[in-house]
Structure formats: structure tokens, C-alpha cells
């Protein structure tokens, strides 16, 4: 991967690169819009933005097959969008509108779009790792060569469910890729203060007989390469992978958090390594012209604007939804 070919960039190709750029820009613009809508008091619940972490979501979004499964956390806007979910559906859900992906029932932390393989955002740390393993088991059982990709944070590597899911996936050789987005913080606490090893995921791969994979999470190409490699291994029956992608979130943990706990200069340092800025520079270096990139950016902005308009125009959900969809019959009856 680090060889001459990769350096020249021709292992990925222009089309894919443009797609990676387009997706990163869309995710960025949409997250920024989510933040603006929150400032306008239109987003009522909490929200956890991925600003600064877009390269990971984009790279997997591009690398995955349409029928692959994504499992993500409360910080799941980007991962859900990266699979092709409607932007109006995402923003509408944040705003608690009828057009929301979940009709206002789930909110920012539970974005789901099964039609696009986004199998849910899980708000309790670690819970979705076993679930992703289960989806991979199902794929293996049905012989479909689908892969499940499960995104989570550095802090999640310290919870019990992480351990159980990794072991089961390894023993059963399940086609599941566990992707730890190490953004240096579990909520407000530096991950190093609460973790026995330096790399919360990579330093633990060997505990499950897995390769230790550490990747620059701010480099979409690097993430894309490792995504392609591990997913094709998994599809071929090679079992799971555990990837640790180093990155940084530009904003606070959630909308409530001004992130004052960060040491001075840390954010600035990471802003220099902004994945979108870096990727744009790379594309220019690779000979793409400014107009193409500008066009992508303009289109992304238009897409976000349109989605915003749809979401704003959408009504609040009707109250009878409260007692709908507890059960498969559409209702909530617990008695006859």
C-alpha cells in the first residue's frame, strides 16, 4: 500500500477519488448545516457531529457494496449519509419532522435507513458491536458475501461488549469490519487517561488473533485502501478485521459541549490536518482542475440547501405515532 504505485495514486483512480471528495464535502456541509440548524433552535435533541472525521465515513461509503451493512453510533450522521440515505431524511429527523428517516421517533442518535444498508445508529456505547457480528453471521449463513461494517469510538474499546463481539467474530470468522475512530477523547476525557494501552483498538487486535491495523483516519485514500483490502478478505471467508483510524473531531462531543478540556493549540494542529483540505490539495496535485472541485462543492451545497428546505417545510409528526410501531402489526397493544 505504501509502495510507488500508491504514492502515485493510480491504485485508486480518478473517478473514485472524485467520489471520495464529493462525499467528504457533502458530509461536511451537511454536518455544518446541522450545527446551524441547532443554533437556530430547530434541532431539539442532542446531536454529535463528525466534523473532522469525514474521511472515514466517506472512504467506507465509497468502498462498500450497496448490500453491505453499516452499524454506527449516536455520532452517525456521516455514516448514514455515506450509504446514500436522504439528506432531507437526516436533517428532518434531527429536527423531529415527519420527513425524518424515523418519523421523529428516533432522533439524531438513532439514524437508520435499512433500504440503504444503514442498519441503525446505537446510542449505548458498545452495544452495536455484537449486533454487527450478528448481521455478519447472517450474511455468512446465507452465503451472500455481504460485509458488516461497524464504526465506534476509542472510548468504546474499553467496554465489555467490544471484547465479546471481537472474540465471537474471530472464532466464527465472521465478515465484519470493526472500525475504531480514535478521535482522542471519550466524551470529555482524554482516552489515554482511561486506557491501558496506547492504541485502544490496534493494541488489542492480537487478543483476538487479528492483525493490528492503524491507519490515518484523516486520509481518505488510506482508509479506502484498508477498507477495500479488509472487506475483500472478509468476503472471501478470511474473517473479521479491526481497524483503528486516528482522527479528531473539530467540535465538542455533542451540542452541549464547548470542548474546553482540549489543550490549547490541539484543535489548530488538527485543523491543519483537516481531511477535506488535505484531500483537496492532493487532488490538485494529482492534476484535477479547480473548476471540477468547485463544481463538486457547489453541488454539495445545493444538495444541502435543498434538503434543508424540505426538512424545514416538513410538519411535526402526528401524535398518533406515539403508539405506532412497537410491534410488527404497526401498533402498541400489550393486551387484548
Amino acid at each position: 500500500m505504501k509502495g510507488k504505485k500508491a504514492a502515485a495514486g493510480d491504485d485508486i483512480g480518478r473517478e473514485t477519488r472524485l467520489e471520495l471528495y464529493r462525499l467528504q464535502v457533502e458530509l461536511r456541509y451537511c454536518e455544518k448545516r446541522a450545527y446551524d440548524l441547532f443554533l437556530q433552535n430547530l434541532v431539539k435533541g442532542t446531536s454529535h457531529l463528525s466534523l473532522g472525521q469525514e474521511a472515514i465515513a466517506a472512504a467506507f461509503g465509497v468502498a462498500m457494496r450497496p448490500d453491505d451493512y453499516t452499524f454506527c453510533t449516536y455520532r452517525g450522521h456521516a455514516h448514514t449519509l455515506a450509504r446514500g440515505a436522504s439528506m432531507a431524511g437526516v436533517l428532518g429527523e434531527l429536527m423531529g419532522r415527519q420527513c425524518g428517516l424515523l418519523g421523529g421517533k428516533g432522533g439524531s442518535m438513532h439514524l437508520t435507513d435499512v433500504a440503504h444498508g444503514a442498519m441503525g445508529s446505537y446510542a449505548i456505547v458498545g452495544a452495536h458491536l455484537p449486533v454487527a457480528a450478528g448481521a455478519a453471521w447472517s450474511a455468512q449463513y446465507r452465503g451472500t458475501e455481504q460485509v458488516a461494517v461497524c464504526f465506534f469510538g476509542d472510548g468504546t474499546a474499553n467496554i465489555g461488549a467490544f471484547h465479546e463481539a471481537l472474540n465471537l467474530a474471530a472464532v466464527w470468522k465472521l465478515p465484519v469490519i470493526f472500525v475504531c475512530e480514535n478521535n482522542l477523547y471519550m466524551e470529555y476525557t482524554p482516552i489515554s487517561a482511561v486506557t491501558a494501552v496506547k492504541h485502544p483498538a490496534a493494541d488489542r487486535a492480537s487478543a483476538y488473533g487479528l492483525e493490528s491495523i492503524l491507519v490515518d483516519g484523516n486520509d481518505a485514500d488510506e482508509v479506502y485502501r484498508v477498507a477495500v483490502r479488509t472487506m475483500s478478505q472478509a468476503r472471501a471467508g478470511g474473517g473479521p478485521a479491526l481497524i483503528e483510524a486516528k482522527t479528531y473531531r473539530h467540535s465538542g462531543h455533542s451540542r452541549a459541549d464547548p470542548a474546553k478540556y482540549r489543550p490549547e493549540g490541539e484543535l489548530d494542529k488538527w485543523l491543519e490536518r483537516d481531511p477535506i483540505k488535505l484531500y483537496r490539495e492532493r487532488l490538485v496535485k494529482l492534476g484535477l482542475n479547480e473548476a471540477t472541485l468547485k463544481d463538486i462543492e457547489d453541488q454539495a451545497l445545493r444538495k444541502v440547501d435543498e434538503a434543508t428546505a424540505i426538512a424545514k417545510a416538513s410538519l411535526p409528526p402526528s401524535l398518533d405515532g406515539i403508539e405506532k410501531n412497537v410491534w410488527a402489526d404497526g401498533g402498541a397493544a400489550w393486551r387484548n
Partner: protein
């Protein structure tokens, strides 16, 4: 009709459904090669192979989580949690993930799965292996909750649970595993959400579940023969959905309600039924509702202590004599 034990009926129910539907898979600890620590799943590995009948590590969260992931992607898993006490170890998966996901996703994700578990006291295993925790599950919206009292009900309700499109927690009373009973031959499917009136009387309606159904029936015999008190006995069978129609109409007929619960007192399923009855057929009641439960203590292990902690036939007789005139 074949005579099967309760534990054989478990295997028979699972086998019937696995035979019928390739999507049904089964996982748990020591369930495959060993046939289960309660021998409830003997023969399944041999019959359906290691792809469909899987031994798991001691990882309850992973077991139940894997069932959830498989259910949302086209399979119909049955997961075993060896003792119902261990539901606590994976309670997040059960109560926060499985129960809520359909609702949170506004119906996008379906979770047709069953969690089977050995429940209740009587084996002198002590407080961490003897609980009756049906009420834990009943308290969580989004879970269906079933607890059969006979081999036939085991097979029929387990089949119904597997076919149900929603998650079902299926409680098998440990102390009933060796009970024998007639089980219909061939494909047999019962219906969730239907209570059964096992006996009719005019003085009092006893509502019971699982092991307590048998004690209630025995007590009713004694009360009738020795004390001239005639009781209706209703086997709830399914706590969610709850057959309130049968419960309310049977209570209305006798004017008195007694619940017999194996669980410790506070917030047991009987409390819920008492509150429904007292809200919806208050004017039919001729006297206080009586709840007979295990006292609100963790269970002791020594045989005499355990036997005297959970409701016995003698205690049911005594309390009904004292409290129902």
C-alpha cells in the same frame, strides 16, 4: 399424542420450527455438542448440523446481540440464555436494543427472535441461579413475554414465538423440566396472548403462571374438598400480550382475585394485574385482591429455606382460607 417431558418439548418445538424454516438458527452456551445443561436441546446438533446449532463462548451480550443482528437481516434466531438470572448480564441488549429498535426506527427494523431461558427456583442453586424474572421483561415495552406451564404449551407456544414477527422472551421453569405431559403429534402451534381457564369455581379467581399454576390447581383441590371454597384457576401463559379479557371476565364472575407469583413481591406481574382489575372491574370486586408471592428477598439455597420462601400449596390454601371468605 405422545407423552413428552417439558424439556423434550423444548427440543421438539425447536426442531419443528427448524425443520419448517431454514431461517431458524439456534445459539447458546453448551447447547450443541452437549445438548444443553438442562438437556433441553439434545439431538438438535445431530439433526440440523453445526451451521444452524451453535455453541458460543460465555459472552451473553454477544450471543443476544448476534441474535439481534441476525434477526434484522433475514434470519429467525433462537438464543438460549442458560439461566434467566443471566439476562442481567445482557440486559442492555435485551431491554435497550432489542426491545426498542423497531420503535426507534419507526418500523424499519424487524426483530423476529426468541430468547429462551431457564427460570425460577427449586434446585437449591441460590440467589443468582433461581430467580423468576418474568416481570423484568414485562416491564420493558417492546418485548413479548411467555411462560408455559406444560409440555404441550411449551411446544405450541415456542413454535408461536418463533413464528412471531416480534422479539419474545420465553421463560422455561427449571422445576418443570422433568414434568411429563401429552403433546399433540405433528405440527403444533399455539397462540401468544391467550390465557387458559383450567378450572372454574365461584368463590375466587386464582391467576398463576408456570410452576405456580400447578400449585394453584392443587390448592384449589384442597380448598374445594377440605374447606368448601371453590376457585377458578387461570394460567396466564403470556404476560405480553396479556389476555386481559379472560382475566377481567373470570375475576368479575367470582368477585375475588388472588395472584400466585414465584417472583419476589415488589413490582411482580401480579401487581400489574391487580392494578388493571382494580381499575377496570372495581365494582365487580367483593373484597381485597390478594397477592401470594415470594417475600421480597433474594432466594436462599438450603432446601428447607428455598421451599419455604416460594409459595407452596399449603401457603396458598392458608392465605386463601384466611383472606377469602
Amino acid at each position: 399424542m405422545a407423552e413428552l417431558t417439558f424439556r423434550e418439548a423444548v427440543a421438539a418445538g425447536i426442531a419443528q420450527e427448524m425443520e419448517r424454516d431454514e431461517r431458524v438458527v439456534f445459539l447458546g452456551e453448551d447447547v450443541a455438542a452437549a445438548g444443553g445443561v438442562f438437556k433441553t436441546t439434545v439431538g438438535l446438533l445431530e439433526r440440523f448440523g453445526p451451521k444452524r446449532v451453535r455453541d458460543c463462548p460465555i459472552s451473553e451480550q454477544a450471543i443476544v446481540g448476534a441474535a439481534m443482528g441476525a434477526a434484522m437481516t433475514g434470519l429467525r434466531p433462537i438464543a438460549e440464555i442458560m439461566f434467566s438470572d443471566f439476562l442481567a448480564v445482557c440486559w442492555d441488549m435485551v431491554a435497550n436494543e432489542i426491545a426498542k429498535t423497531r420503535y426507534m426506527t419507526n418500523g424499519q427494523i424487524a426483530l423476529p427472535l426468541v430468547i429462551r431461558t431457564a427460570n425460577g427456583a427449586g434446585s437449591r442453586f441460590g440467589a443468582q441461579h433461581s430467580q423468576a424474572v418474568e416481570n423484568w421483561a414485562m416491564a420493558v415495552p417492546g418485548l413479548k413475554v411467555v411462560a408455559p406451564s406444560s409440555p404441550a404449551d411449551v411446544k405450541g407456544l415456542l413454535a408461536a414465538a418463533v413464528r412471531d414477527p416480534d422479539p419474545v422472551i420465553f421463560f422455561e421453569q427449571k422445576s418443570l423440566y422433568s414434568m411429563k405431559g401429552e403433546v399433540p403429534d405433528g405440527e403444533y402451534v399455539d397462540e401468544l396472548g391467550k390465557a387458559k381457564v383450567l378450572r372454574r369455581g365461584k368463590d375466587c379467581t386464582i391467576i398463576a403462571l408456570a410452576l405456580m399454576v400447578h400449585r394453584a390447581l392443587e390448592a384449589a383441590e384442597v380448598l374445594e374438598k377440605e374447606h368448601g371454597i371453590s376457585c377458578t384457576v387461570v394460567d396466564v401463559r403470556s404476560l405480553v400480550p396479556l389476555d386481559t379479557r379472560t382475566i377481567l371476565s373470570e375475576v368479575a364472575k367470582t368477585g375475588r382475585l388472588v395472584t400466585v407469583e414465584e417472583n419476589p413481591r415488589l413490582c411482580g406481574w401480579g401487581a400489574e394485574i391487580a392494578s388493571i382489575v382494580t381499575e377496570e372491574c372495581f365494582w365487580d370486586l367483593d373484597g381485597p385482591i390478594v397477592r401470594i408471592t415470594t417475600p421480597h428477598v433474594p432466594l436462599p439455597s438450603a432446601d428447607q429455606l428455598e421451599d419455604n420462601a416460594i409459595p407452596s400449596v399449603a401457603r396458598i390454601v392458608r392465605e386463601i382460607r384466611e383472606k377469602i371468605d
